[in-house]
């Protein structure tokens, strides 16, 4: 007997929770960014688990699209981080408390 579907979903939930806790706890904006990447990966894991257990390729297609969105998010998010750092000399999210750059 191999691993059940619920095991993968439990692992996905645990990883997502750790990422969410990290977004809340962390003060460094790059660390928060990486926690968001971890949450995206937890969702990808549940997609792939469903796709594999139900023998349907759709889940893996959406994993591919989620990865593309994550890459776009990385490009734009790191550009925003660099701009914030250039203007505020700090990576603390508490220092970036107004919408104006």
């Amino acid at each position: 007997m191999g691993p059940q579907l619920s095991w993968y979903l439990a692992l996905s939930a645990v990883l997502f929770t750790i990422g969410a806790v990290g977004v809340i706890v962390k003060r460094n904006v790059i660390a928060m960014f990486m926690c968001i990447e971890l949450m995206l990966n937890a969702v990808n894991l549940s997609f792939v688990a469903f796709s594999s257990f139900f023998q349907d390729v759709t889940g893996q297609l959406f994993v591919f699209i989620v990865m593309t969105v994550a890459a776009a998010e990385a490009a734009v998010g790191l550009g925003i981080i660099i701009t914030i750092f250039r203007n505020r000399e700090s990576l603390d999210v508490d220092d970036a408390n107004i919408l104006k750059l």
Partner: protein, 221 residues
Amino acid sequence: MSTLLFIIFAGMAIGCAIAMVSQSNPLYSAISLIGVFISLASIYVTLAAPFIAAVQVIVYAGAIMVLVIFVIMLLNVEHSEPRRKRLKFLVPMAIGMAAVLLAETVFILHSVQMTENHPAANISDVGLTHSIGVGLFTRYLLPFEITSVLLLMAIVGAMSLARRTTILSATARVVPGSQVLAMDIVNPGGVEDLRMVETETTEEAAHLLGVDFQSDRSDQE
């Protein structure tokens, strides 16, 4: 066997994720995040999704994390906490990991020789590159095209965000020793203050910028 693999890689993923959140140095948490990505890629392999596993390693652990580490090193945020000695445990750890790697190589060579060469029973083609490509270009063509437009938007957005906005005036001269600086370089408080500040010598410019500058020309004379 697959249960054991799941437990190993799930433990690795959770351990690396907890290490990522508990680290204070963003570089260490980035490396822990790479550990999470690698163990998730291994779980994808056990789930019979080799294409997604390869893309996970190439795109996430390769491209995105290189970008993140590049930004961490570019911004170079100094921590006020004192730097601890951490090179002591690295050498025994490296020896242990090298031993593990060697044992793995020996095991693989040994098991390749022991097993008979017969093709594995492949019950379905879900997860192979062919089925993913067929799905992506027929039934899910619209999401695919929307994703490519999203990537174009990301390129334009990243370029317009990271562009330098400081532009010197057309009358700025380049004379040796004479510097023309924008006001917001000298005074970081004033954002986009583009008034000119002229200095006569390099020493004066270094003093304005708060840089410790020693003229080596006087030593040569």
